[in-house]
Symmetry: C2
């Protein structure tokens, strides 16, 4: 359900928005009209002359879409991850890709992660299983300060989550591609820092961008380096996880549980073993949603910067893949 | 499993500790020895001359215990609530009762409450039910800032929880017997303030002390004043809740769910309808546990104040019942 946008004074400045879900396409169109009333917003499929489009605002740009717009000044993402856009062979080499940065998206992600970290810290699976057995089982939970949480990826989302977890009292370690300094958080970086990061981590959260380096990183060697009986929360991409290794680590007790929000195939196929696994929590890619109102303000500001000849504030680095 | 304590230089200064659970009695004895090495700590049942005991440190002082110690300078509680001690007819009128105040107890309670508030905010019951049906159901969750949480009782625990929920972004309302001012929290007090407090509350948390005024307060009229489809978290006492009214409010949809940590009879009897109710989460009085190390330091400090002729910092007010 794509839409296009055209500046009032210049019929050449046009934005095409393509998202996979029509209800949200209408919502984005309305929010973009609010955020940029001097632009003309048109659905891409309703556009008579795609050659005049300056911007494409896309969710997962299906093949055949970007190639319709030969004069794009930028492609703007509606989601936090841009791996789908960067890997699209119809993306012209010189066209910048703008990432979605949205306070509501960040806040929602932090709340999702907090819920699952607290579930595991408070021994929710054991308590809820005891209730199902009608068994009064007063098991003590550790305090947050007695739990070590590892945050992989210290971009906007990972940093916000790490800071919130620290404020609540958790002992937090962070890992990123390049070195970072964060108050109260023990940070590690690069391949050489990975073993030091993983050691002792009892709850691991993956916020990594999907790149050739991070694909399949959640696998047997990584699981073996965590504290025994650790928990995994994957809020990033299904392609980060080697599914067979997760099932094996759970069966062997090296991991005690996993919460997964993203999958290699979405919706998760009905016959997938994750659905019925007692130690796996499946959430249907709802960790966080971009809010149209705040997201459209971000998109409008980035488009104006580009029209003014400035670099966007949140351009993806195509060389590093995010 | 009671124990007694005796100062080294004064055989008359003795503390009797009685708790219902022998594993913890040993733990408390060890922690008290660490916290007050100049005292002599003896289990009450092993005490040759109960008449010399200055202090009783008790959990739920069963009948027949306090009456054994005729010269108590104070009774000190091992738990946050003192309703069981204050209602004990063997408690002498002039003997002060000291409440447990323990940073670990507070922190644990805040983490328990945060877990359940986030569960309800993130629509966990619906998501987990969809997983059981193997259904991909991408339902959006509101942000914390779009949820109104009501905190009943603004003592040490309620205030700490209200502040933490506010820091995470929730809209928080608070209610207490006497007026309180808390930054960023809309506060109400007394019977006249109750309706204003309850209106619009979507998640209600009860931290109230158990008194004749608060007994049975969680009942049909209160449920009807909340936002439709609200959630209840009772982290206080089973006697606050009218069980039949809760079941009726859930059946009618006025409440959407409840998490209960305390019950009129504990352990909750095997045939109790709460166990199998799909909208009720039962936790076995584990919201928070006093930690022996930090709790014993608090008890030792209060005993020293009393021995020095000072008032304890955390005396229960027998006239108001907490």
């Amino acid at each position: 359900m794509p839409m296009t946008l055209r500046t009032a004074q210049d019929q050449d400045a046009t934005v095409a928005v393509a998202i996979g879900d029509s209800a949200r396409a209408a919502e984005w169109q309305a929010a973009l009209i609010d955020a940029a009333p001097d632009f003309t917003i048109v659905r891409a499929e309703a556009m008579a002359a795609p050659a005049v489009a300056d911007f494409a605002v896309v969710w997962r740009a299906p093949l055949g879409m970007l190639s319709r717009f030969p004069r794009l000044k930028a492609v703007l993402s509606l989601g936090a991850g841009v791996d789908g856009i960067l890997s699209n062979r119809e993306l012209e080499p010189g066209v910048p890709v703008v990432r979605m940065v949205d306070e509501a998206l960040t806040q929602g992600m932090v709340e999702y992660v907090l819920w699952h970290v607290l579930r595991y810290q408070r021994r929710a699976p054991e308590l809820l299983a005891a209730q199902r057995r009608q068994e009064w089982l007063p098991i003590a939970a550790p305090l947050a300060s007695e739990r070590c949480v590892g945050v992989m990826g210290l971009g906007v989302l990972g940093e916000a989550a790490a800071r919130r977890l620290t404020a609540i009292g958790f002992r937090v370690k962070g890992w990123s591609r390049t070195p970072r300094q964060l108050d109260g958080i023990e940070t590690f970086s690069g391949t050489t820092g990975l073993a030091g990061f993983l050691g002792g981590v009892e709850i691991l959260i993956c916020f990594l961008p999907l790149t050739p380096e991070t694909e399949n990183i959640l696998a047997a060697p990584l699981f073996a380096a965590l504290a025994p009986g650790a928990f995994l929360i994957n809020a990033a991409r299904g392609e980060h996880l080697v599914e067979a290794d997760l099932l094996e680590a759970l069966a062997a007790g090296r991991l005690a549980g996993a919460t997964l929000d993203a999958f290699r195939t979405e919706p998760l196929p009905a016959d997938h073993p994750f659905w019925k696994h007692p130690a796996i929590t499946v959430t249907p890619h709802v960790a966080s949603l971009t809010r149209a109102a705040s997201g459209a303000r971000h998109l409008a500001a980035e488009m104006r910067r580009i029209l003014a000849g400035e670099a966007p504030l949140h351009a993806a680095r195509r060389d590093r893949g995010y």
